[in-house]
């Protein structure tokens, strides 16, 4: 156990990931987000998320790597509703990573929490440790009614029973962009070359994705916005998602 902790401490040294090329980050401007849920379906299509069915949904076993949460304030008629998209925060100090007994979830060199499906033994501890509730467990091997399986994205694994899964920041798109950059003889991916499915679909451009190590990237500029904050910041998970607080005017 002690060796594990030592190893962990070594890797968790602040600034460790600055040595690497990328620190993928997403900013979500809550002043733009309308809660229209385009991102939810975009993610479903891109990442081969199954339809769990009414009965399983009723047991809270839905598979949605990104969801829209709602928060009410006040009482009728002075009532306000606000939306916030919730997805894996790709924490730098991720509680899920220390939980996994088999290192199925680990931190990769780009600062992503990655989930290795064929290492996962399904203890579900990571989901318990996650304060954002964005990890989803395959209680069954879900089927696609023929011919819906023809839509499945060949770049993304179809998971089976007993495996935990979650948002990957569309790692397949990151890989493709890196490969394309390599083919072009470039060392780095240019800003804007990677857009996860949710970011791509967002009508209001509430979401911006990019590399925080590049101070000139769009997302770095967004992250410096004074409205920026992390959800549940006090837990010191240092998320890779920066939310921009909604602007409130009285009325």
């Amino acid at each position: 156990m002690s060796t594990v902790l030592e190893k962990f401490k070594k890797y968790r040294k602040p600034g460790y990931y600055d040595k690497f090329d990328y620190h993928w980050t997403m900013s979500i401007d809550l002043d733009r987000c309308t809660g229209c849920e385009a991102c939810v379906v975009a993610c479903q299509a891109e990442n081969n998320l199954p339809i769990v069915g009414e009965q399983q949904f009723a047991m809270r076993r839905e598979m949605k790597w990104i969801r829209i949460e709602r928060y009410w304030e006040g009482e009728y008629p002075n009532i306000k509703l606000q939306f916030i998209p919730m997805l894996c925060q790709q924490c730098d100090q991720a509680p899920c990573e220390i939980a996994c007994p088999v290192f199925a979830t680990y931190h990769n060199q780009d600062g992503l929490n990655t989930q290795v499906y064929n290492r996962c033994i399904g203890t579900r501890t990571c989901a318990v440790y996650c304060p954002y509730e964005v990890r989803f467990f395959n209680w069954f091997t879900y089927e696609w009614d023929e011919p819906l399986e023809q839509q499945l994205n060949p770049d993304v694994t179809v998971r089976e029973k007993g495996v935990m899964e979650k948002c990957t920041f569309c790692i397949q798109r990151i890989r493709q962009a890196k490969d394309a950059a390599k083919d072009d003889g470039r060392r780095r991916v240019r800003d804007g070359e990677v857009t996860p499915a949710c970011v791509q679909s967002c009508p209001t451009e509430a979401m911006v994705f990019g590399d925080l190590n590049d101070p000139d990237s769009r997302v770095s500029k967004m992250a410096r916005n004074p409205r920026g904050y992390h959800v549940l910041e006090e837990l010191n998970t240092t998320p890779s998602i920066v939310y921009l607080k909604r602007v409130h005017t009285d009325g």
């Binding site: 401007d29 809550l30 002043d31 733009r32 309308t34 809660g35 229209c36 849920e37 385009a38 939810v40 379906v41 975009a42 479903q44 299509a45 891109e46 339809i51 769990v52 009414e54 949904f57 009723a58 839905e62 969801r67 829209i68 949460e69 709602r70 928060y71 009410w72 304030e73 006040g74 009728y76 009532i79 306000k80 509703l81 606000q82 939306f83 916030i84 009614d145 011919p147 819906l148 023809q150 839509q151 499945l152 994205n153 060949p154 791509q200 679909s201 967002c202 009508p203 209001t204 451009e205 904050y229 959800v231 549940l232 939310y243 607080k245 909604r246 602007v247 409130h248 005017t249 009325g251």
Partner: protein, 749 residues
Amino acid sequence: MSNKINRRDFLKFVGAGTIGAGAGFLAADVSKMSTEFLIPQVNLPEDYSPGIATWYNTVCTLCSAGCGISVRIREGRAKKIEGNRSHPVNQGKLCAVGQAGLNVLYNPDRIKTPLLRDGERGSGSFRPIGWDEALTTISGVLGTLKIQKKANNAYLLSGAVSGHLNDLFALFMDQLGSQNYLQHEFSYPASLYAANKACFDEDVLPYYDIRNSKYLLSFGADYLGAWLSPVHHGVSYGHLRQGTGQRGRCVQIEPRMSLSGANADEWIAARPGSEGMLALAMAHSIVEQGLYAGADAGDWQQALAAYSPASVAGPSGISAARIVRIATEFAAASPSLAIGGGAAGASTNGTANLVAVNVLNFIGGNIGEAGGILFNPASTFSIDAPRPRAGYQEMLKLFASLSGDDAEVLILHDTNPVFTLPSSANVAAAVMAVPYVIGMSSFMDETMALADIILPLDTYLEVWGDSIPDPGVGFAVASIAQPVVKRLYDTRSAGDIILALAHQIGGELPANMPWTSMENYIMEMWRAVYQGKSNDSSDHGFRKFWLSILESGVWGERSPQQARPRQAMSQAMLSAVHMTQPSFAGNESEYRFVMQPYLSLAFQDGRGANLPWLQELPDPLTSVVYNSWVELNPKTAAELAIHEGDVLLIESTVGSLEAPAFIYQAIRPDVVAMPIGQGHGNYGRYASGRGSNPIEILAPETDIDSGGLAWSATRVKISKTGRRVHVIKTDGTTRDLGRNILGPGHGHA
């Protein structure tokens, strides 16, 4: 075909894969790609390479907005739909419904072959037949009518189609000798068209420039949810909020908070039907304060005299001070924009309400201004026949003729009026009264089940076509649709069916409709557009143009805004302004609540309910999935001792239904609301037998000016049935409770 393939050929095929990616004209080659051979890739299409995606541009027709889409194809299969970046309507973005289009294409419940009725009419029992038999039978029936000079007894009722398919339908019916071609869509805003006709003498909707506005005042129009062109509005909204240094303000006036209401800075729960009075009171206040610049301020003062904020406060439930404050803000902000729609346009005084909103825009000086109302130019396409869209009154007239003795044949194309019209319209009975009913659809539904013969249609991802977005974007735009995958089943496009029928019916039809296929027809029509615009009659020039528009998926032409004489417009508006009190079916003492059915973001008028991704998509405002619900104010619920999940009986003067209660925080206590979309009886495995359809129990009230269905003019009473169900939703605690989830210092317990 030779099955021999040597290494050099193989490398050549793989190498060719990157060439021409995105050039849409090759889609037909891809679609002919055979999968039946052991080595299907011997004759590899030029743009096809294993492992590398190809993108084709086409147009989304899942609602009327007409967004351009790019479809990602891998190994001949559609994998992902994204917005077309060069399309001015959606600018690369797409809504939840558009993304779920793959569920339409690969839906397991698609009709796969032509079907012939096999049993009693309406029993839903069909047997498969071949296309030859189906087309011969139908052309025989229609040909006989034509010869007997009784073709005017044939009717074509279509869902919303624009562009050349609309032209083809119109031409076919005309050539057949019938005047009876109509389009039906539940969400067709008849009152909005009527109001704009009355105020501006416009037949097409203007462009609401939300993007550049600084103050957006919406009277019931859920512009971010289901009103007109939600993706375009979403793009504009993002810009309005954070696109410039000066953040635009949004105010929403509606009895039940919609998605747009939730995003507004201020939500005002006015009484249903009082929206127009509020708009006139605001105009009154602006004129009174001397903020209206026109020389005819006196005329307006007189015309608006009856609508002082004080006198409107009572009927609307909004205080005079608040009306004046909003009016002052509206006049001070520059540019500002008022829009109206949704329930405001679906009251018995719907057109009057929307005329009043136009008046407010006029008084606020927003007409013809960037950030206000801009007019779409007259279509610059030589084609684009007017669309014969029917309001509720015209539909009733149609059903009366269908029930009469003369009606012989009804052709239904991609429309489900049995579901989307109130039960009091007796749609099913009218359809059953027609001796011969032909259905054209990709899916079995409540209306198609009544047909004698059903022709299975390609989905929108398998067809040639074009569409003209309505509303436009301030300049002339057309989108080109092309097949992005090989068709999955033995289906055909509506255009190909119409052309095949024309050829088989004979007479002068083949000469007047000489096209061999829909692809050929679309291409020839675009050749005419090209030649008209360019004076270039060479085939080479057209080919180049055609390839470029297929590749980009869109073609447009910017034209300058025409200035409108202010005085004449003022006169027209002065004579158009009028107001009547809204009326509701059912007396208030017995039927306590005004029923507000609303278009579901995912299902729209119910057509999306057979898509599994949308069934499992939480409703944005309640997070409920898989069922219907009826929304009640917490106070109302407490008073009647109703809790979430209590199954309620909802009765109007014409019918009743059951639905579980959902306590909704932002709805007037005297209003109940229900989403439209569920309640299908026969619409595939994902939709059938879920929830209930609020359209069914709507009273047959209409907007007096436009004849559109006043779907917000029905009163209901509610009672508990004693049963309870579990309302399936994703939400847990919907209060922040000091967790600062929405940002530091934001959350209140």
